[in-house]
């Protein structure tokens, strides 16, 4: 079973790390990288970001999640999902899978030398 965290800001993707434990708030399975240290690794970053009692450090992952939540809410920006893990947390209607994109290696045209040069 893999981590159910949603990674990213511009596009969201699933985390493929193995599960360490479940978030004490939402119950989703999380890897160690997606559990907030401020909560003793008991809560995921999404839940930590919405919990006013959790203190953020300057530009840490809790800050990033709060920024992301605020940005999505205030601008109405809806990111694309790059993978779908069948998590109960995700809304299937929101999930626009393009798994092939992630597995395709972005290097296939990297030797072109940058933007607009061809």
């Amino acid at each position: 079973m893999t981590c159910e965290a949603r990674k990213g800001f511009l596009t969201l993707s699933g985390c493929e790390n193995p599960v360490a434990s479940a978030c004490s708030n939402c119950g989703r399975s999380m890897c160690t990288a997606h559990l907030a240290p401020q909560t003793g690794f008991s809560m995921c970053f999404d839940c930590a970001a919405t919990n006013q009692n959790v203190q953020e450090q300057e530009y840490d992952d809790v800050w990033s999640r709060r920024y992301r939540n605020d940005y999505y809410t205030t601008t109405g920006y809806v990111p694309l999902y790059s993978s779908y893990h069948g998590s109960r947390y995700y809304d299937r209607q929101d999930a626009q899978s393009f798994d092939d994109t992630v597995r395709d290696h972005p290097d296939d045209d990297v030797d072109r030398g940058g933007f607009g040069e061809s």
């Binding site: 511009l10 596009t11 300057e58 990033s64 972005p106 072109r112 933007f115 607009g116």
Partner: protein, 285 residues
């Protein structure tokens, strides 16, 4: 942790960056943030304490001079000993004040560059380096001075001097997890206006006002097999057989030297994504 402890905790590379006032690095985003965040933390502490140190330094000099003359009436020896003690305190405060000024970096670094990288951290392909160039020197450093007007009169001000600064302080290039190539540049054009007038009591007063235009240019190369792209308003769309290349630009005006908000850049990039949709093949995958 105080500013001295924060500075001591920096490694040799980070201390060198504070001396050179420049970052030019190509490494993974996590490594970049590990390099940049302690510098930002040190700068935050230095900024907090600098004003207090400056005021205390000025006050200590005044108190030293005043105490010397007062104590001279008691005893010259006491005046010398007391004066030297106060001078040592003033010297220590002055040393730390000028030291915090020396290690100061542009607020663009702490309030724009670091938050932008933090927000996009999980969007950057972790296996590919992010190339970043950040100028940490003051936006009005003399090396950025482009021109200075001859003094002229304007209203009640008998002497006005306009200085123009050009500050291309950030450039970055990265590959995102969806294969998109992202690059951006941020350039400030600053007008510093020093206005001097004589008030009713005959005193000369000088005010300095700033006007800043921040130009943000973003280029996104989205893969054609992943996205169908429509150009956002006022964007330039081009490309080749593999990528749609969108160039967008925005100018932000401000009447201070305060850094441009990260949102200005983030909005430009999300505007491109708002105008991109998954290709039929990808949407059906």
């Amino acid at each position: 942790m105080n500013v001295v402890q924060a500075w001591r905790s920096l490694n040799a590379e980070q201390k060198q960056i504070l001396v050179e006032k420049r970052i030019d690095a190509s490494r993974s985003v996590d490594e970049l943030l590990a390099l940049m965040k302690p510098l930002a933390a040190c700068d935050t502490m230095a900024d907090k304490v600098r004003t207090k140190l400056g005021c205390s330094f000025a006050l200590a000099i005044v108190v030293t001079v005043a105490a010397f003359f007062v104590l001279t009436n008691v005893s010259f020896a006491v005046a010398v000993i007391g004066g030297l003690a106060l001078l040592a305190i003033a010297g220590t405060l002055g040393f730390f004040y000028f030291w915090t000024k020396k290690i100061d970096v542009s607020n663009n670094f702490r309030e724009f560059a670091v938050p932008v990288l933090s927000v996009f951290r999980e969007d950057f392909d972790a296996t590919r380096p992010v190339h970043i160039q950040v100028d940490l020197s003051s936006p009005t450093h003399k090396s950025k001075l482009q021109s200075e007007s001859a003094p002229y009169k304007h209203g009640v001000y008998h002497k006005v001097i306009d200085s123009m600064y050009h500050d291309p302080w950030m450039a970055a290039e990265a590959v995102l997890v969806d294969g998109t190539k992202l690059s951006w540049t941020v350039t400030d054009s600053i007008r510093e206006r020093k206005k001097t007038k004589r008030n009713a009591r005959g005193k000369y007063k000088t005010k300095t006002k700033y006007s800043k235009k921040t130009n943000i240019e973003v280029t996104l190369g989205l893969r054609k097999k992943t996205y169908d792209v429509a150009a956002p308003a006022e964007a330039e769309l081009s490309g080749d057989e593999k990528r749609s290349v969108v160039k967008v630009e925005r100018q932000v005006r401000s009447e201070s030297l305060d850094p441009v908000v990260p949102r200005a850049l983030i909005d430009l990039i999300t505007d491109v994504y708002r105008n991109a949709s998954l290709t039929k093949k990808e949407a059906g995958a």
